[in-house]
Symmetry: C2
Subunit: 193 residues, 2 copies
Amino acid sequence: MNVVTLCLGILALGDASGYEIKKRFDGPLRRIQEPSFGSIYPALNRLTREGLVTCTVQAQDKRPDKKVYSITAEGRAHLKAELQKSLPGPDKVHSDFLVTMLFQEMLSPAFVAAAVDERIAFYRDLMTTLDCPAGQQSAAKDFVCGYGVAVCRAAIDYLEAYRRDLPAPEPAADPAAGQKERGVLVNPQAMEI
Amino acid sequence: MNVVTLCLGILALGDASGYEIKKRFDGPLRRIQEPSFGSIYPALNRLTREGLVTCTVQAQDKRPDKKVYSITAEGRAHLKAELQKSLPGPDKVHSDFLVTMLFQEMLSPAFVAAAVDERIAFYRDLMTTLDCPAGQQSAAKDFVCGYGVAVCRAAIDYLEAYRRDLPAPEPAADPAAGQKERGVLVNPQAMEI
DNA sequence: TCTCGCATGTAACGTGTTACATGATTCC
DNA sequence: GGAATCATGTAACACGTTACATGCGAGA
């Protein structure tokens, strides 16, 4: 799934500017895909060239001009065809966490424990983000969010069970576990290489 | 996590040739990462240049020569440092399935049902692949496989519950659901665009 | 003042895939 | 006879990210 198709899909759900498309992927959707401006703007220009979307410049008060894109009938047809071309291929997970855990035998137990703690905290946080929109959203978004919640819960349960079996509870590593995203507040050098 | 670090990690688990490294990612690990020859061979050459691995050419009977790589002490130290540099960042899911489902409102119900069926079959198959190695493997691999199984099970449960609520059971779409990976046996054009 | 948010865009760069090139052996 | 497996490697290509360029307004 490339950025061009993704932008076309977002525009099928409603008009938006490049900046707004980017913002949509700052929410829970960022877990699935997180395109940058450097790929979104060229994608929108290409879609416009191909007649799949139209662009209207909107002057704004005390804000820069905005280029609002709308999907055309051809764009809608193209998206349908693109999505139904074949059944979606298998997901790619691309997990640095799992790779790290695969090599955990050569890492310090404190680091492994901190990584697991951080991951539990991360998924707990993600689950609350995903869980709030119940019913009021579109059925499609509910499905995708629900899928995320189900997978999160399973991951948390599994990680918590594993955490209990871990040798050292290591209270010194806990500050790292509370961090959002990928903070580097805890110096890994400090915890026994 | 780039291919270079990944190769170094595999070599930390035991000597291997480029071809053998590739084969390791044909198994269940392929869900996490699936590097190609075009990235593995240059990676091994770079690791050799940097002194992180050594290479010995092994002549074989009735088979082409094999270049077996071994990790050096510096390589091991480098890998440790690389993995413990910072806590692993959040996973990237990259799911064409979820994107497709996000736009399901504009797709034919038959296609959506077929996609869900295929995904259930896929995860069932994956779970059996992941589930078999219990205990005999390394603890690290057990953890990673167990994680995969837990997530698979949650996904299957969620998808099956969703499938039951789906309007049309559509028996014509079932052949697609039985396919492995991403077969194109069923012509999507045939099922009402 | 200085940073942040809004808003668009380009160019360089990194990284990985696909396709090609080569060649013996084994299985159907 | 043809495909598949073993085995390594390179070059072209696709795709996306990062950094840079620009500029105004609002709030700390």
